[in-house]
């Protein structure tokens, strides 16, 4: 029972991170029909920025803020300078460009920050809460993980639901042509969308890194799990991405806890294949099945 509880709690906090990462993928997919394979590398890069700030003697929170701001700027630059040239063209071109960006950023990080493993601090304790005799695998940092992902989700919901900017961004995502006819500066909306997605991705990168080791490829596994989560959620649905992230986090945690951690990657692949075979539109896609 205690093992089950611990595995579940661990899966939830891990799942919250996958949810954030999947959310970043979905934000860009919705707006541009591009899967941003460079999302993980961008997050890795901004996490290194945070590490550089922290190692220069600043607080964790200064590094945290620099990473998120760095994500905002990096996302905007990537869209405006690089992706703008391939948007609207063949989808494969855009995919190849994001893959190139992924490889390029990883190499650049290795050159600037070194390829060695470095430890990344956590702002809160990493010892599980204790209840009497029982110590659970849920730490103050886990609370921070779940809380910050929740705050970001609610902020995004509020942005898209209740603000003029959010309405313009949604309109641009659904129909660029009609949006332009209504005076919406679609290019600007895409830049903002990539910037926001990169901020959410950076948050996922920071949360993965906290209390762990970082190296230029440390986000690689998260890209895979985040992608599976996004597909599970239907790629088009932010709520689906969050639910998909939590499900993947839990499922992989159970696989790791009960079957062995070496099977985790295989399990992610099995889930991806199963979703594509059984429900290719994802669990939460709004496309209703045809009723006869």
């Amino acid at each position: 029972m205690q093992q089950f509880l611990n595995i579940t709690l661990g899966g939830l906090s891990q799942g919250a991170i996958y949810a954030a990462f999947a959310l970043a993928l979905v934000l860009i997919w919705r707006a541009t029909r591009i899967i941003n394979f460079a999302q993980g590398a961008m997050a890795m890069f901004t996490t290194y920025l945070a590490l550089a700030v922290i190692e220069s003697g600043q607080s964790y929170w200064a590094g945290f803020a620099v990473a998120l701001a760095g994500g905002l700027v990096l996302g905007a630059i990537v869209e405006r300078v690089i992706m703008r040239r391939v948007e609207g063209g063949p989808e494969l071109n855009a995919v190849i460009v994001t893959l190139g960006l992924f490889v390029g950023l990883q190499a650049l990080a290795a050159i600037i920050f070194g390829a060695a493993f470095q430890s990344f601090p956590a702002p809160f304790g990493l010892r599980g809460f204790t209840f009497g005799e029982l110590t659970v695998a849920f730490t103050p940092f886990s609370v921070f993980i779940v809380g910050s992902v929740l705050v970001v989700m609610l902020a995004l919901v509020a942005l898209f639901r209740f603000t003029d900017l959010g309405l313009r961004m949604r309109a641009s995502a659904f129909s660029q042509e009609v949006s332009r006819l209504l005076g919406v500066r679609v290019g600007r909306m895409l830049t903002i969308g990539w910037a926001l997605a990169a901020v959410v991705g950076s948050l996922a990168g920071l949360l993965i890194a906290g209390g762990n080791l970082v190296h230029p490829a440390y986000m690689d596994a998260v890209i895979v799990y985040g992608f599976v989560a996004a597909v599970l959620g239907g790629l088009d649905s932010p709520a689906g991405a969050v639910a998909g992230g939590l499900i993947i986090g839990l499922a992989l945690s159970y696989v790791s806890g009960y079957l062995g951690s070496e099977l985790v990657t295989l399990a992610a692949l099995a889930i991806l294949v199963a979703v594509l075979l059984i429900r290719p539109k994802g669990l939460f896609s709004r496309v209703a099945e045809r009723r006869v």
């Binding site: 309405l167 005076g183 919406v184 500066r185």
Partner: protein, 249 residues
Amino acid sequence: METMTDGERDRELDIRGLTTRYGPVTALDGVSVLARPGEVTAVLGANGAGKTTLLRTVSGLVRGSDGAVLLGGRNLAGAPAETIARAGVAHVPEGRGVITELTVEENLRLGELLGSARRGKDGREERVASVYDMFPPLAQRRRQVANSLSGGERQMLVIGRALLSEPEVLLLDEPSLGLAPRVVARIFGLIRDLVDRKRITVLLVEQNARSALSIADKGFVLNLGRVVASDDADALAADAELRHAYLGF
């Protein structure tokens, strides 16, 4: 010729020698159309005559290769679509102008945001309310996604949304397409009424020449990308030879 007020002069759409090419195909070949405020100007012609291309070039969705689009004397040719929209040209595209994933209310709010950017936010609520008054079915469905609307309701939605943007010029592409004759009559009546009341400029593209000419003041007939006839609407409707050759009624 009647005299125009200053406000009306800002609404005159003067298209001069507009040429648009799709690769090797010349879709518009030196088209000149004058659309005046307080009037409905119909652009008629068969499928492929260049009517839709004309509107898409005027609104900036397609880039013309030559010619001028003067709105109140200011040349908009070559400007991006969002800039042209902000200058007061509201293009209601054929058939697919509704953003089906958004609610009725959100679709209208997009028009209102443009209108507020152009005219200020004063009276924005009244303007939205007046659209719901004009089109009661929209009021009943304001919180539904536009995907659930019928064809006639969608047409009401895009026209209402265009009006909320406070346009100087309204470009309407086949507003009668796929609608029942009664609905067409109602929407055409509404357009005529709007033009008379608000003195805006309407450029109406239609395959349904007979009903278009019934509400139009002037008409231009396009064939293979060129203007082959232009006259008062009554005169065009009375010209039997022209009707047989190009208009099909």
